[in-house]
């Protein structure tokens, strides 16, 4: 499996190998259609379907080449797996996606421009709160607060300290922006939630499994601190390009949780500002 991936990677980079030539031509065609003047959000559905289609076709092409090579050498043919689609997602897509990513992601950005703007403003609103204030605002149960992480210098007050809680989870989630592969992004998301759970377990000094009542507010906390730009575009891209076998599973669940944080940060803006003003006055 690994050697196959390595081989495919090399083949696609080569300007002489048929796969390399094919990929180069596909990229040129894709860019001619979807970048520059073609960069229109209404073409998003088509563009992402097209990239997935390339992955499937390239797998089929590779498979056919492999069979031919085996036949010529008089070796027994490799068994045709029924997992052809799965291989397209697991093996091919991570290899070809980096080439298409900049143009494709631009379409997602255009598609979610308005929501991402709202979300950004929401994030800015939340960024003025100190750690304890934000935890309070999100109604995180008090006994789950990592107060020990709020190390204070002499002239600081606990209620004013910022960006100290759930740092490991926040830093983990920020890696979302630096990856391309949807599978990798999903793993980052899972790791983020695990980090949240680890921090809480450390606070409680025992292993604690978070039910959604606790996990969701904490994830919102981490999302608002991670300040990921274009989160709406990120979520949509992951959902479109992840292996469909994930649907209904753990990764789907986590992605949905992330999406709900994104929605909440957009919609709860006004509410938050009001309650903040109220609490300031009292």
């Amino acid at each position: 499996m690994e050697s196959m991936q390595c081989y495919l990677e090399k083949a696609m980079k080569s300007s002489l190998h048929p796969l390399g030539k094919l990929l180069k031509a596909l990229l040129a065609a894709f860019q001619a259609t979807y970048s520059g003047t073609g960069a229109n959000k209404h073409l998003l559905t088509m563009a992402q379907e097209e990239v997935k289609h390339y992955a499937k076709k390239i797998w089929e092409f590779y498979w056919a080449l492999l069979q031919m090579a085996l036949e010529q050498k008089g070796l027994p043919l490799a068994k045709d797996t029924e997992k052809s689609d799965q291989n397209a997602y697991d093996v091919i897509l991570p290899l070809i996606l980096p080439r298409f990513y900049p143009d494709l992601f631009l379409l997602y950005m255009l598609y979610h421009e308005k929501e991402d703007d709202l979300y950004c403003q929401g994030i800015i609103d939340l960024s003025i709160f100190s750690d304890t204030k934000l935890l309070e605002l999100l109604e995180v149960q008090k006994h789950l607060w990592p107060l020990k992480d709020l190390t204070l210098t002499t002239n600081q007050r606990r209620s004013l300290v910022k960006d100290r809680c759930f740092l490991s989870a926040t830093e983990c989630l920020q890696k979302l922006m630096t990856t391309v592969d949807p599978q990798e992004k999903l793993e980052i998301l899972q790791k983020t939630c695990e980090e949240i759970e680890n921090t809480v377990s450390r606070v409680l000094e025992k292993e604690y499994k978070l039910p959604m009542d606790d996990l969701l507010p904490l994830l919102m906390y981490v999302v608002s601190r991670a300040k990921i730009q274009r989160l709406g575009a990120e979520i949509h891209l992951i959902r479109d390009l992840m292996d469909p076998a994930n649907e209904g599973g753990m990764y789907d669940f986590l992605l949905t949780a992330l999406e709900s944080c994104y929605e909440h940060i957009q919609k709860d803006r006004i509410h938050q500002r009001e309650s903040w003003l109220m609490s300031r006055d009292t």
């Binding site: 073409l43 088509m46 709406g232 949509h236 649907e247 753990m250 669940f253 709900s260």
Partner: protein, 215 residues
């Protein structure tokens, strides 16, 4: 999600209910009891899976917990879309929590129609003395909305096994009816939607968070 062909089904079930009704302990009870947890996964209090075999049919159950706080209510549709079943839990000693269940039922029927199997669950029957929601009222209500009613105690592990088994049977039934209705298509044709989709610029008023439909 839907049922697949043959004898294997994958179902998504959402867990809804107010904060302190014990919905999480209900599911934890169900999933931890058998097969002495050899694979301990993280986050197993918010997303749980269970494999069942019902009359030769393999069922993969994925149970999605939701946050019960009122302020997150508007996020519901993001979680319950594409689900095959919903478990709506209330606390029999808390009338308010039963009212919340009624609100969920209304919303689910409006958004998902009769496709979704609803279970209304009165939890904490170990506190029978403090009951504030009468058995009759709850059962009559459930019947009137085409849901099934169950009495459980997460604390004493009562009624939970039955609840899930029954729900699975009903979901299988629904999936099979659905399959027949679609005509025996050997594989669900994943209707590749090619071509340009023109989508209105206006944000959709429906609360389903239109941006990320799994299309």
């Amino acid at each position: 999600a839907g049922g697949g062909g043959g004898r294997s089904f994958s179902f998504k079930v959402v867990l809804l209910g107010e904060g302190c009704v014990g919905k999480t302990s209900l599911v934890l009870r169900y999933c931890e009891n058998k097969f002495n947890d050899k694979h301990i996964t993280t986050l197993q209090a918010s997303f749980l899976t269970k494999k069942l075999n019902i009359g030769g049919k393999r069922v993969n159950l994925a149970i999605w917990d939701t946050a019960g706080q009122e302020r997150f209510h508007a996020l519901g549709p993001i979680y319950y879309r594409d689900s095959n079943g919903a478990i709506l839990v209330y606390d029999i000693t808390d009338e308010d929590s039963f009212q919340k269940v009624k609100n969920w039922v209304k919303e689910l029927r409006k958004m998902l129609g009769n496709e979704i199997c609803l279970c209304i669950v009165g939890n904490k029957i170990d506190l029978e003395k403090e009951r504030h929601v009468s058995v009759q009222e709850a059962e009559t209500y459930a019947e009137s909305v085409g849901a099934k009613h169950y009495h459980t105690s997460a604390k004493q592990n009562k009624g939970i096994e039955e609840l899930f088994l029954d729900l699975c049977k009903r979901m299988i039934e629904t999936a099979q009816v659905d399959e027949r209705a679609r005509g025996n298509g050997s594989s669900q044709s994943g209707t590749a939607r090619r071509g340009v989709q023109i989508i209105d610029d206006e944000p959709q008023v429906q609360s389903s968070g239109g941006c990320c439909s799994s299309g």
